[in-house]
Amino acid sequence: MNTKPIQILVVEDEEYLRDLYVQILAQEGYQVTSAVNGEDAYNLLTKNTYALVLLDIILPKMDGLQVLDKLKTKGATGNKHIVLLSNLGQDLVVAKAMEFGIRGYMVKSDYTPDELLKEVKGYLNNEPVKSSLAV
């Protein structure tokens, strides 16, 4: 923890959930940034680098998949640091999201806060994700 804190971006439009995620992640010592819509998320993603991004799908202005799409056309080399965290659970949506080469897909309602933290740690430990976005 003496070193530079790990940067995590939470993209969530739902206030209560956003607060929840920011709170539990911050308590764990991560430096958490949050975005409330797709556009902000995209701007942040192009400016900064994050070890992990928890990206919702249904978002105002630009949805999660559009963000991924835009990053891809912008020339991002990979989305391995991005985990989709959504309440959408249809196979089609999941399959489509996976095509963007994301790290993982989580259905929000299936996780309790501690389970979520466990997942986040798993992602971070297995493969420290650096920003692959060439800006």
Partner: protein, 730 residues
């Protein structure tokens, strides 16, 4: 020689005159022409008699008869031309009265020796001294004949087809003979007293008679068809045979008169007998030869009627397509008969509704009401006669007029079982020749065949049209179905979207509730009072249940739309069962339930979706755990029966009544006996339904045995993976 010429002319004229008159009594043309040629005959007769006169008195006497016979020639010619070919008298009453009076005046003039003053016979030649009366006579003839000739030429120029050809011959014949006769007798004989040529004047009439005869035979003039042609054949035959027999007779006569009866004579008798036999035998072949010869002369466009009939039959048998059929029939008929056009028309509801024409038909609107009337009449008006209208053979009626207007030569009604189907219309022969009796016979034979073929074709056409309507109907229905299907697809998509959005919207607040309840329950630095903790727990569990319900509904929706995709791979079902066992062991222990997993040593491989199968077994074992009371027992046992793997989950719950077993796998089935009241974790009512569907997708089944008060056995049966497919892990 004079006698032959005169008598031949007289006989031919008389015969022609009678024929022409009898063929069509009603026709004015026929009447005038009949009178005209009869007069010519009389003239040639008297002319001959006068030339044979020895004394002056005798010569004068016959010459006066010649004059009498000449009177009507000019006017009759004029009348004939005027009425030809319309056959109705179009001469104004004034002209007629004038001419009749004028003719009548001639009679006393001749009788009173004003026309001819005297006739002398010098060296057996007649010297005629005309009187003043010859002037009105000449005026009348020159006037009428010139007018007639002018009309004839005018009509000829305006005429077309057969009529033109007829007029051409008649004009030529009559003008040549009349002009020559007038020049010879009137101009040379009477005016200049040059009578040397008078005896041959009947020859000029012969030219006229000849051309008219030819016109009759060749071009059906005044509707005399075959009589002349056939007569000629017989005359030739008669001549041939007569000469033969005459020769024999002479021979026989010679034999009887000059020779004594002897062996030689007897032998000579055999020769004519053989000859007679030869003639008798050769009669028919010879007749045929002569008929062919005459046919060749008079009907050049010959064809084999049998070939034509056969070819037509073949055409009619080969196609059912109406247009094609009519086209082929017409082409073949017209080709053989050399007709300038032909048409097959079909009638229905007092009109012609279909026509197929071939040849030169640019100016023929075959669909008008006149044509219908003709076709109708050709069948109904001729009901008791032969069903055919031949233009030349019709009397001058409205029908004939219509046929002339429409330029139709033949009309044959097409009937099937006395029902008028349509008609076959034919134009003139392109050569201008008449339809021979053979043509007519052929047409009469083929007409019923054509009618039947056309009728069949019509039925076929109707079926085809019906089919088209049917196809249209089907197409429309398909279109409707397709649009309905599209609509359903749209609805399905909407439903899909709805389920997706609804589940998402439901899950979001539930996640918040669940998470915050969890946080409340797990707040590290706070001790919650027992009742509050209980309330929070209930809330938390209920939220969990709601979330599961939403998840299950999503799964059901996917199953029902066949959207579920199995990630098939070789799976050891024992491994799956072990996972479930390990996971739920804690819960079982908590409830103090004896939880056993019995399994064989070898792996039991299935081709399946590991995660989904785990869900299924977890669901069933989970149910068992829920419903089995404390200190009960649950046993998972896996075994192989033939090619099916069976994972049996046996519990010691209260069992399920038989009549409820069927309802177990239905959606939202909550069985009466349900433990829900005992269970702290009520189900969604969808678990078993989903499990059954997933097992079905694996080509397996879930069976239930149960006894109330004892317990139940749920058997998940799955097909064993074929070993040779490399399914089993070593």
């Amino acid at each position: 020689m004079d006698l032959i010429i005169a008598s031949f002319t007289a006989i031919v004229s008389t015969i022609l005159s009678i024929f022409v008159y009898l063929i069509n009594v009603k026709s004015a043309t026929n009447r005038y022409f009949s009178g005209f040629i009869l007069t010519l005959g009389l003239y040639s007769l008297f002319n001959y008699l006068s030339s044979q006169a020895v004394t002056n008195t005798e010569a004068f006497y016959w010459s006066k008869f010649v004059m009498y016979s000449i009177i009507p020639i000019g006017p009759l010619f004029y009348f004939f031309v005027k009425t030809f070919p319309e056959a109705t008298s179009q001469i104004s009453i004034r002209i007629r009265i004038f001419l009749y009076v004028f003719m009548a005046v001639q009679i006393p003039l001749i009788a009173l020796n004003i026309t001819l003053s005297s006739v002398e016979v010098i060296n057996s030649r007649l010297l005629i001294h005309p009187g003043l009366g010859i002037i009105p006579m000449l005026l009348m003839h020159v006037g009428t004949i010139m007018t007639g000739a002018y009309l004839l030429v005018k009509k000829y120029r305006n005429a077309t087809g057969l009529l033109k050809i007829q007029l051409q011959y008649i004009t030529f014949g009559i003008l040549v003979s009349l002009i020559l006769t007038i020049i010879v007798t009137a101009v040379f004989g009477v005016l200049f007293n040059f009578t040397a040529l008078i005896p041959i004047s009947p020859l000029f009439l012969l030219i006229g008679a000849g051309t008219i005869t030819y016109t009759i035979a060749r071009h059906r003039f005044l509707d005399i068809r075959l009589i002349i042609v056939r007569s000629l054949a017989y005359i030739l035959l008669l001549l041939f045979i007569s000469i033969g027999y005459i020769a024999i007779l002479f021979d026989v006569a010679f034999f009887f008169n000059k020779q004594e009866p002897s062996w030689e004579n007897l032998k000579a008798l055999i020769i004519p007998a053989i000859l007679a036999l030869f003639f008798a035998v050769t009669f028919q072949p010879l007749r045929r030869i002569f008929e062919k010869l005459t046919d060749k002369v008079f009907y050049r466009d010959n064809y084999d009627s049998n070939d034509l009939l056969w070819s037509l039959s073949r055409v009619m048998a080969s196609t059912l397509d109406l247009k094609e059929l009519a086209e082929s029939i017409l082409k073949r008929l017209m080709g053989a008969l050399r007709v300038n056009y032909g048409s097959i028309v079909l009638v229905r509801d007092k009109s012609i509704y279909w026509a197929q024409s071939e040849g030169d038909v640019s100016h023929h609107p075959f669909k008008n009401t006149d044509i219908y009337r003709l076709v109708y009449d050709s069948y109904h008006a001729t009901r008791h006669k032969e069903h055919i209208y031949i233009f030349e053979e019709l009397s001058e009626t409205k029908i004939k007029k219509l046929m002339r207007e429409q330029d139709i030569t033949i009309i044959i009604p097409l009937t099937v079982r006395k029902e008028l189907v349509g008609g076959l219309l034919l134009g003139q022969k392109s050569s201008g020749a008449i339809y021979s009796s053979e043509d007519i016979e052929v047409l009469k034979i083929v007409a019923p065949e054509i009618a039947v073929a056309v009728k069949n074709s019509l039925s076929y056409d109707e079926i085809k049209k019906f089919n088209v309507t049917l196809e249209d109907e089907v197409r429309r229905a398909t279109k409707r179905l397709r649009s309905a299907n599209n609509r359903l697809k749209e609805l399905d998509l909407l439903k899909d979207e709805f389920v997706s959005i609804a589940s998402h919207e439901l899950r979001t607040p539930m996640t918040a509730i669940k998470s915050y309840l969890w946080l409340a329950l797990h707040e590290p630095n706070q001790t919650i009072k027992a009742p509050l903790k209980k309330y929070l727990n209930i809330s938390y569990n209920s939220t969990e249940r709601l979330i599961r319900l939403v998840n299950d509904m999503l799964t059901v929706s996917r199953i029902e739309r066949n959207k579920i995709e199995l990630k098939l791979e070789p799976v050891d079902i024992l491994e799956v069962a072990q996972l479930v066992y390990d996971e739920l062991k804690i819960t079982a222990d908590e409830k103090d339930i004896v939880f056993i997993f019995n399994h064989p040593k070898e792996k039991l491989m299935v081709n399946g979706d590991k995660e989904k199968l785990r869900e299924v077994i977890q669901n069933i074992v989970g149910n068992a755990l829920k419903f089995t009371p404390e200190k009960g027992s649950i046993t998972i046992a896996a075994k192989l029966q033939k090619d099916m793997i069976s994972v049996d989950i046996k519990d010691t719950a209260s069992g399920i009544p038989k009549d409820s077993i069927g309802k177990l796998f239905q959606k939202f089935s909550k069985i009466e006996y349900s433990y829900s009241k005992h269970s702290s974790q009520p189900g969604t009512g969808l678990g078993l339904y989903i499990s059954k569907q997933i097992v079905s997708l694996h080509k397996g089944d879930i069976a239930v045995q149960s006894e109330v008060g004892v317990g139940s056995i749920f058997s998940v049966m799955l097909p064993l993976l074929n070993k040779h497919k490399g399914g089993e892990k070593s």
